[in-house]
Each structure stands twice: as C-alpha cells, then as structure tokens.
C-alpha cells in the first residue's frame, strides 16, 4: 500500500500566537525550508566559501571554520542537496538538515532590544553587520544568529529546542507585544 506522509512542524499547535494580530515586532516562522550543512574537505575551505558566495539563490550562514548552513526557500531538500553536490563536487560534504533545524525570523524596530534579553553578543549595526552570522547562545539554547536586514534577524535552532526557544522569544518579546505566525509564503 502506498502511503502519503504529511510533515509536521514542531510549532504546529502553537501558532499563530494571537490570530489576526501582527505587531510591529514580529516573529515569522517558515513552515518548510531546505537546509543543508556544508563541511569543506581539508584544504578546500576557501574554494567552498567562494563557491557558496557565488551561488545566488541560497542563504549562507557561517557555523564554524569551514562549516556553513545553507538555506533555500525555493528548493526542496533533495534539490538543494543535489545542487550543492554539483556546485561543491569533491570539495565539501553535505548533510541534509531541513528537518533538523527550525528557522525563526525576527523583525521590527525593537528586535535588538528583544535579542539583548537572551544574546550576549553586541548586535550594534556597526559591529554585527547585515549578512553576519554566528553561533551564539540565546538564553540556554544554542542558535545560529544572522542579521538579514537593518532590523531583521534570523535564528536557526535545532528542532528539539524549537518550542523552548519559541517560548523564550515570547517572554523576551512580551515588552513589545511581539506577534508570531507561520510565514505567508509557506
């Protein structure tokens, strides 16, 4: 018997926070995202970095020396894996993390003040520039933080911590009436 399996997001039962309400400070959570961990082979770090920088459609997040998380909104996990394998053939190892990582996008005028309640890093625009990403602790939870815009940040967290991080972000954003919902585009 052929079966159809439906994927479930860990925040399925928790979103939206308050239906119909979107505050200026908002937490946007994509339901599905293709994510891959890329690890450069020994000596290929620079080549992989250059290859990733040249690939237009994906977002590149730095996770450690010679290691990145690659995010794609337009591809399926399989497509991303295949395209990266072609792009980085013989220079990198690729591991699918599409189900292993959950993405949170935080935007609004008060995002830095919200994040300062959990993250010790200096997020001043002159210090943590747009495009910067880094592994940091948010409270007790390890996340990869990226600045995606002037007042936009993205947090990537291990799936098992998604609900815990979501609850932390709710508390952190309480002062600014932070709203939260799944992304409109999917």
């Amino acid at each position: 018997m052929t079966r159809t399996y439906i994927s479930r997001h860990p925040l399925e039962d928790l979103l939206p926070l308050e239906p119909g309400i979107r505050a200026v400070d908002h937490l946007d959570i994509p339901r599905a995202m293709a994510i891959a961990a890329v690890m450069a082979m020994d000596g290929e770090e620079a080549a992989v970095a250059a290859g990733l920088a040249a690939s237009g459609d994906v977002q590149v997040r730095f996770t450690g020396p010679g290691e990145w998380l690659i995010l794609s909104q337009s591809e399926t996990p399989e497509e991303l894996h295949r395209n990266l394998s072609l792009l980085l053939a013989e220079t990198a190892y690729i591991v699918d993390q599409s189900d292993g990582r959950i993405v949170f996008r935080l935007s609004g005028p008060n995002v830095r003040r919200i994040l300062a309640k959990g993250i010790a890093s200096d997020l001043h625009p002159a210090v943590f520039e747009i495009g910067t990403s880094s592994n940091v602790l948010c409270g007790h939870i390890s996340v990869n933080l990226a600045r995606t815009g002037e007042n936009e940040f993205e947090l990537i967290v291990m799936r098992s911590f998604a609900v815990a991080l979501f609850n932390d972000l709710r508390v952190m954003g309480r002062e600014f009436d932070l709203s939260a919902d799944f992304s409109a585009q999917g």
Partner: protein
C-alpha cells in the same frame, strides 16, 4: 513637630501630592520625594530598630549608604524587605512598614537587649553559648536569630517578574553627577557609544543638592541642560534607576535597573527589575564620595544625621531635618551645611568644630565652638540636645537634630572589586582606588577631587583621553566657571574622646567603639578579623559608613597609620540585589529548556507518561485504561514485545555523521574495538573509552558508504561525545581527513522490536528486508512505500528481532502512525523507557547504569572486544595498568533472588553469606534491577569481585536503604535468549 516641609524650594512637584502609608499611618509626600524625604517631611524621624540592641534609629543619609532606614515595602508575597527608604522613590499608594520591632516601632520588647548591652559585647554569643554543643543549633541560634535581624524574608513564591539583559558600549559612565555628566558629554559629543548609569531616579547626582552656580546657571539647571544634550545624542544611552553593583572579568559590569519599583500598578509585560550585564570597552567610575560619620557618644540617636544629607533634604527635597540644628564637624563641609540651613530659615544652634584656629565662616549669628566634641546626646526616640565637651567643660546645647560631618570617603568600591587594594592617601586622609588598568578609570570625587570645578574638569579630561584611545577625536572645551565653590578640607577625627554613651561605628550591626577595642585586645586586630569578630561592616549596607572609620579606629588604637591597617575586601554586590533579578526569567518552565522528540506528539496521543531524561522528556510507559500502576503497564509492554512487537521512540539517541577518507581511521582510534574494516551496509557496536581506560560511551556505528559513517551515542552523552570528537580531531589527530556534524535533530528514529517486527516493517518498506537480504547488523538506506528515503538498521537492544527506522523528523509522527496501523494486526504496542530497561536487563545489555565511569570493558564482559592489534586508540595505554587488569576486579554478573518473591534494588551491596557489612567485606554492588515479567521473578545486573568465576554461588544482597537482605544466586547476566536465536531470526 520638628522635621518639616519647607514652604518652598526643592526639586519636588508640589502640585503632585502622593498619598502613602507607613506602619499603617496615612501620610502625604510629593512626586520627586524619596520615601525618606517624605517621612521626614511628615516628622517621622524614627524608622527602625537596630539589629542587636533594638535601639531606636532614624534616617542618617540621603542615599545608598543608609544603615538605618530599612523598611519593608509592599504586602504579601510581593513585599520587599530591607528596602532603603533613602533611595526608594515615592509613589501613590506606597505601603511601607518598619522592621525588627515587636509589637510596635515605638514600644519594642527587644529593646530589653539594650539594657543587657554591657554583657552583649562583640563575641558574646560565641563565648557564652558554647555548651552543650548541640544546643547551639537547636536552641541558642534560633532564639538569637529571632531576636536579631532586619526584614523578614518572604517565603512565598515571588509573584513579580524579572529579566536579564545584555548591553554593550565603548564607555560606561557610572554616576551622573558633575563628573559623570561631563564625561558622558565629552565622550558622547565625540561619537563614542556611551552608557550613563545612575542609581537615582533623577540624574544629576550631587548637582541636585548643590547651591553653587555653574556657568551662570544653578547646579540643578546645569544638570538639566547637560541631560538635554545627552538625550539628543543617539550614541548615548541613559540608564536612571540603575545601580552598577559589580565589576567582573573582561570589563563586564553587573547592574540592576528598577523598572517598575516606583509605580503603583506595574504593567504585566514589564519586569519589576532588570539585571544588566554591561560589556564596556572602557568605564569611568564617577560615583562621588560619601560623607564620613563622626564617632561620638550617643551618635545613633534619631535626629543625628549626616550634615550633607541635611543639605540634600533641604535643597533637593525642600525638607528641614529639624527646627534647631547643631552641626558637629571636623571640616569646612559642616559650615557649608550650616549656611544652606540658615539660608532656608532653619535655625542653626551651634557649630561644634573639633579643629582649632579655623578660618571657615559660620552664618550670621551662629555660635561656633572650636576644639570641642560632642560626647553624648540627650533625648530618647529623638535627639533633644547635644552634650558638648571643650577643654574639660561640658555644656548641653538644646537642638532637635545634629548634623555630623567627618570628612569624605570616595566611593571606590567597584574599582576594588577585582582584588585591587585601596591605598591610603595621607594628603586626603582617606583611601583611594589604585590604578586598575585603563579599562576602568576613577574620576571626580571618587578619585578624591572634591571640588565642583575639579569634578567637571576630571570627568571631561578622562573621557577625552578614553575617546582618543578608542580612536575618536574629542575636544575638551573650557570648563564653565563655578561660583560658590565649597571647600572640602577636613582634619581626620576617628573618635571624639570622652564619650559618655555608646559611640557607634556601625549603626546597622550595633558595633560601637568598645567592640573594636575588644577585638584588638583579644587578638582580632587585623582589619579583616576585627570585621568578623565585631560584625562591623557585615550588615546589608556593607559598611559604607563604618568601614573607613573602623580602619581609622584600629590604626589610632595602635598608634599606626591607617595605611598599615588597610581596608576590608570590596566585593560585589555594591548594594543588595534581589535573587529574583539574578534569576531573571530562568524560573519555572523557563528554568531549563525542554527538548522535544519529533515523536512527542505521537507518544502523547498514545497516553505516554513522560519522564525527565536530561533536557528531554521521554515516554516512561504507555498507560492503558484499567492499569493501576507503571509496573502493570511495563509488564504488559515487555511481554507483548517478547511475544508480538512494539514501537519505541529512540530519536533522542545522539547521531553524528562522519565523512572523509580517514573517517574509518578516526573511528578506529576513537573506539577500543576495530572499525577499519567495517563493510558498507553494516552496523557495529562500539565501545568508547576515556584516556584512563574506563568506558566512556557506547553505541552503534554504521557505514553507509566508504567515506560516510553514522554514529549513534547514548542520549545522555550525545553532546559530550561530539565535543570529545572535536577535541580528538582538532588537537589529537589534526592530520586525519575527517569531518563530522550532529544530525540528532534531523531524524525521527523508531525501534520496532519483537518476533513480528519484520512483518510490520516489511509492510512499509519497498526493499527486501528478509533475514537473508537484511540480516542482523545490516544498515542502509531504504525507500518507504510512498517514496520517502529512510535509514534502516537491524540492531537490537531488547534481544528480539528488531529494527531501527529513521525518517526525516517532520515525518516522524506520520510514519509512527503508519507503523502502528500496520502493526495492529500483529498486536503492536508502543513502549517506553521502563519496558526498554526491563528488556535490556533481561538480555544483559548495559547502559550508563553499568558504565558509571568505574568500569572497564572487561568488567562488563567486553574484554575480548578490545583490540590488541590496533597500534593506538583512546584508552589503550592506561588499560594495561595493574589495577585495571587485576583478577579480583568486580565483573558484571546476573543475580536472581533465591526466594522468587523477593526484590533486589539497584544500589544494594553484595556480601558473602554470614559476612558483616563493612567496606572491607564489600563484594560488589547492584547496578540495575527489575522485575522480569518474562521470567516471573526479580533479576538484577551487578558487579561482583571475580564475578564470572562465581556463577551458581549464593550471595547476600544487602540493602541498607530498604532495610533488606536478600539471598541471591549469581548467574550469567544474560537471562533471556543466551543463544541469540531471537536476535538472528
């Protein structure tokens, strides 16, 4: 009525009256008042009872150094004990109560202690309540504790919310007085990222209580202008109501912001207090200086107050501390206060000056008595006169308040919190902070520059230097001229001789001069010893007023310089901080993050009862209706797996993907058993040792392709193994070409175990998984019907025919549902950790209950797995040391009670029959135990000396905790299917 509100003046809003309560009395103050200024305005001089003698005490200061005016604010669970009235901002409806009194502040039974005071000197309790020893804890201490003490700690749950925050800046300026404001202005104008923090609710510091003019405007107006400019600078952040309490490594400062302590109806979405960690490239300490109290007879009587505080109450709050005020001073500051009071229409009855031939000018008509000291005070609950001694002649001067001014103590605490010792300045007769490096600079009055002009200049210059250092160009403009500058000079007076009453050094802990003398006589003369012996400086005010005086007294009593006595050690916190603020939001559900398996929802739907397992919540068992307890559910689950099939969530086990041409070699060195030749498509059980030869962790590792392995670790050590591997790769074997990353969260992994497991799994999987095609320890990628790629491993923890199926986490619940559906015909049931544990004990499989860090592979029966051929692996060298190969090491065995209805519990020890329980006679211990539903009696795994040679022997299982002794028979640890026929089916 003596203390009263002046008809005009002060930085209070007289159009905004605020009703509040003190000890049940309805009183009124104004916006801009502190609780202390409002109490004084209402002539409520008596605010507390002292710690030991229960002496009546009044407000002494106008700031954070206050030792006496400690009150409890608020009601019930949310009340705050030991709040300093001198810094508590008045708000409508504030409800404060005095402390340490019974039945009331005016009439206090505890004051009897005062009558006994001749016997209650320093060390009295230690010397007296020594016998019998047991009485100290049970009788004496509780009684003493009840009598002493300040506010009562609230034992209920704190209903208030707190939070913690990080802040970053180039320059942190601590204190918003003249020095801090100038520093912030100069740095801010240069573009430096500045944070200006001040504990007061109104920024301006001493400028708010100052009568001098700066650049032609009044001091408070000057402060307002500076603040207005600072507010216009986007790179400057101002943090009022924020006490910087600690200086820590890497120039991180701890600060607590009182966000909603001053509001009648706190907003729910805001915390009441916020703890800040401020990461500062540089910092300036501009905390000013404390006026030093004078130590004279009767100096603790309500109405005796710091002269500077009187000036602050008059100028900033428009409150007179008394109608006729005597000033006792050893310097010019006393004259300054006298001038302010006289200008405000308050009668100054006399200035008593300990110095001779002074040039200071008293206000018109005020009598000055030079070379004189106050030796006692009159009155009871408030002062009514000062007994003044001059050249052997005494006179009593009627007054209702006494202002005392004994010089200045710079507030250097923060700069000395990281080990630097304060240094004595002979010139300034006080202690200054030493150079603590360019990260933290002391400026203004805190650096001994007491004049207003000096403060403005010092703040500006030091900020400019820091800005330049950080690469900003800062211009130091000419400082505005100061008109009405005060003279800060004084002559040190540590003790005014001839006291006819107790002369207090530490008001809050009731330490007086004689106590210090006693400490010295009894050999506790070192300043740190004297502190502990007398408790001087150990109260909640941490000796802000008393510390330097104690040093001065110890020096004077020995005829040495205060430089040779030194100060006690400065430590965080500068002022007390609520535990709630330190915890922030990390309480209740937020105390630790919960990790949820992708199958959490599935387990919930099947009635799982969860158990904490590290940060994870894992199903312990799946209760069915009618089952009375966990044992009943567990027994059913175990029997069903032995007979049919079961499904268990094993997603929490650590999974690590390992790649590279040297991945096999990397694993070969990591594990004690060989991995070099593991074929593609196979899983192998691996044992990881620590360097000391003990087992660290275990799990299976499978080879998915020649250069790709996937490792599983135990749930508990998933993170530990990962960092261990990082260490090995980065430090031990950087030459190996291997890379790895965790994929624990990517996969939902399910164990399907039982004789009917293959039927269930085959129904879902397209590939052939027959015994021939997919034998025990096979591993590979399969396709689920419907097209999903999954990983399948034929491994078994239960000893049954078993598979572990891994699917992308998001699909976990859907696939688990499908397995349950396919398994229904075969009697499938979900099972939890309890059943998993019983199944593996029955099979003699180990977990961290066995691998507790004291066990070698051989101890656990894996001796033959350890490779003798491999040139090296972690743990190889130390595995051969004598103690680890000894013949009488404890080895893992099975135990079953001789009487089948008896129970064995883990943790029990093993003894030979007839032996007395003792360490010497200890034969081993039980590591795991359970009731085996398969066998119908209890079983256990245990470690027994030379255990493998002793199968069949009877041994006593001695359980002191349960109070039982059970005779058990030693056996092989494998109770079920020792021939592995089920496993290989």
């Amino acid at each position: 009525m003596t203390a009263y509100r002046l008809a005009s003046g002060g930085l209070i809003d007289r159009r905004a009256p605020l009703d509040f309560r003190f000890d049940g009395r309805n009183l009124t103050g104004f916006a801009g008042d502190t609780l202390a200024s409002a109490l004084l305005a209402n002539d409520q001089l008596l605010v507390g009872r002292s710690f030991k003698y229960h002496r009546p005490r009044g407000i002494v200061t106008a700031g954070a150094s206050e030792p006496n005016a400690l009150v409890t604010i608020g009601k019930g669970a949310g009340s705050d004990p030991n709040t300093k009235a001198t810094v508590a901002e008045l708000y409508f409806g504030l409800d404060a109560r005095s402390q340490n009194r019974f039945p009331s502040l005016k009439y206090d039974f505890g004051a009897l202690n005062g009558l006994l005071s001749p016997f209650l000197g320093a060390g009295f309790y230690y010397k007296t309540f020594m016998w019998p020893a047991a009485f100290w804890e049970k009788v004496y201490e509780p009684i003493i504790r009840k009598a002493a003490g300040l506010g009562r700690a609230v034992l209920e749950r704190d209903p208030q919310a707190y939070e913690k925050c990080w802040a970053h800046c180039d320059l942190l300026v601590i204190g918003a007085g003249p020095t801090g404001l100038m520093a912030a202005l100069v740095a801010g104008r240069a573009g430096v990222r500045v944070i200006l923090a001040d504990e007061d609710f109104r920024l301006g510091g001493s400028l708010l209580a100052e009568t001098a003019h700066i650049g032609g405007v009044s001091a408070p107006d000057f402060a307002e202008m500076a603040l207005a400019e600072l507010r216009s600078l986007p790179n400057v952040t101002m943090m009022p109501r924020t006490t910087v309490f600690g200086w820590y490594d890497d120039n991180v400062f701890g600060a607590v912001e009182r966000v909603q302590k001053h509001v009648a109806a706190p907003q729910e979405k805001l915390p009441v207090e916020r703890l800040w960690r401020i990461v500062a490239k540089r910092a300036i300490l501009a905390a000013g200086a404390e006026e030093r109290p004078l130590v004279f007879g009767g100096n603790d009587r309500p109405g005796v107050m710091m002269a500077g505080a009187m000036r602050t109450y008059a100028n900033r709050f428009g409150v007179a501390a008394g109608k006729s005020v005597a000033i006792f001073t050893n310097g010019s500051a006393g004259y300054r206060t006298a001038a302010v009071l006289a200008a405000r229409g308050i009668e100054v009855t006399a200035i008593i000056d300990s110095r001779t031939d002074v040039s200071d000018v008293a206000p018109d008509g005020v009598r000055v008595i030079q070379s004189a000291c106050v030796i006692d005070t009159k009155g009871h609950k408030r002062v009514s006169g000062a007994v003044v001694e001059r050249c052997g002649f005494e006179q009593t001067i009627a007054c209702d308040a006494i202002g005392m001014s004994g010089g200045w103590n710079p507030a250097i605490h923060l700069a000395c919190q990281r080990g630097a010792k304060a240094v004595w300045s002979e010139e300034l007769k006080t202690f200054l902070a030493p150079d603590v490096g360019n990260g933290f600079v002391v400026a203004g009055a805190a650096a001994g520059r007491y004049t207003l002009a000096g403060c403005l200049k010092d703040g500006a210059e030091k900020a400019a230097a820091i800005a330049a250092d950080l690469g900003f160009s800062a211009a130091v403009q000419a400082q505005p001229a100061v008109d009405g500058e005060a003279d800060p000079s004084f002559t040190a007076l540590w003790y005014s001789p001839g006291a006819k009453a107790k002369a207090f050094v530490d008001f809050q802990n009731d330490v007086h001069v004689k106590d210090i003398g006693l400490a010295l006589r009894e050999g506790f003369g070192h300043v740190e010893h004297a502190k502990r012996y007398t408790t001087n400086g150990m109260a909640t005010d941490q000796g802000k007023l008393s510390g330097i005086n104690a040093t001065g007294l110890l020096a004077a009593m020995q005829g040495i310089s205060p430089a040779d006595v030194g100060t006690t050690t400065f430590r965080p916190f500068y002022t007390p901080v609520a535990f709630g603020a330190l915890a922030g939001t990390a309480r209740d559900e937020q105390a630790a993050p919960v990790r949820k398996s992708p199958l959490y929802g599935w387990a919930q739907r099947h009635g799982a009862v969860f158990v904490d397992s590290g940060l994870w919540f894992r199903p312990a068992y799946f209760a069915q209706s009618g089952e009375k307890d966990w044992r009943e559910s567990t027994d059913r689950e175990v029997l069903n797996i032995r007979e049919n099939v079961g499904l268990c969530d094993v997603s929490t086990l650590g999974k690590i993907e390992i790649f590279g041409p040297d991945a096999a070699e990397f694993l070969n060195r990591l594990y004690c058993n060989p991995f070099l030749k593991l074929p593609v498509g196979k899983a192998r059980y691996g044992l990881m040792l620590r360097e000391d030869g003990m087992v660290y962790d275990d799990g299976t590792t499978s080879r998915l392709s020649p250069g790709h392995f996937v490792m599983t670790t135990t749930t508990a050590l998933a993170g530990g193994v990962m960092s261990h591997m990082e260490y090995c790769a980065q430090v031990l074997w950087p030459e190996l070409k291997a890379r790895f990353c965790s994929s624990t969260d990517q996969w939902a992994q399910m164990a399907i175990a039982g004789p009917k497991a293959r039927l269930v799994v085959q129904a879902l999987v397209e590939d052939d998984i027959s015994g021939a095609a997919f034998p025990f320890l096979a591993a590979g990628i399969v396709t689920l019907k419907g097209g999903i790629k999954a990983r399948l491993f034929r491994i078994s923890f239960s000893g049954e025919l078993a598979y572990e199926l891994a699917v992308p986490a998001g699909l976990g619940e859907a696939v688990a549902d499908a397995i349950m559906e396919e398994g229904r015909a075969h009697g499938i049931c979900p099972y939890g950790l309890e059943a998993l544990n019983v199944l593996r004990i029955e099979k003699g499989h180990v977990t961290h209950a066995e691998f507790d860090g004291r066990v070698t592979p051989d101890d656990a029966g894996f001796g033959r797995m350890v490779s003798a051929q491999k040139p090296d692996f972690i743990g190889k060298r130390l595995s051969t040391r004598y103690g680890l190969t000894a013949a009488d090491r404890m080895q893992m065995v099975g135990l079953k009670p001789v009487e089948p209805d008896q129970h064995i519990r883990a943790g029990a020890h093993l003894l030979r029959e007839g032996a007395k329980p003792s360490t010497l006679n200890d034969q081993g211990y039980v590591s795991s135990a359970c009731f085996s539903p398969t066998l119908g009696h209890g079983i256990a795994l245990a470690f027994l000396k030379s255990g493998r040679e002793r199968y069949g022997e009877r041994i006593v299982v001695w359980d002191k905790l349960a109070g039982t002794e059970v005779v058990a028979e030693v056996s092989s640890p494998v109770f079920v299917d020792p021939g592995n026929t089920k496993l290989n089916a």
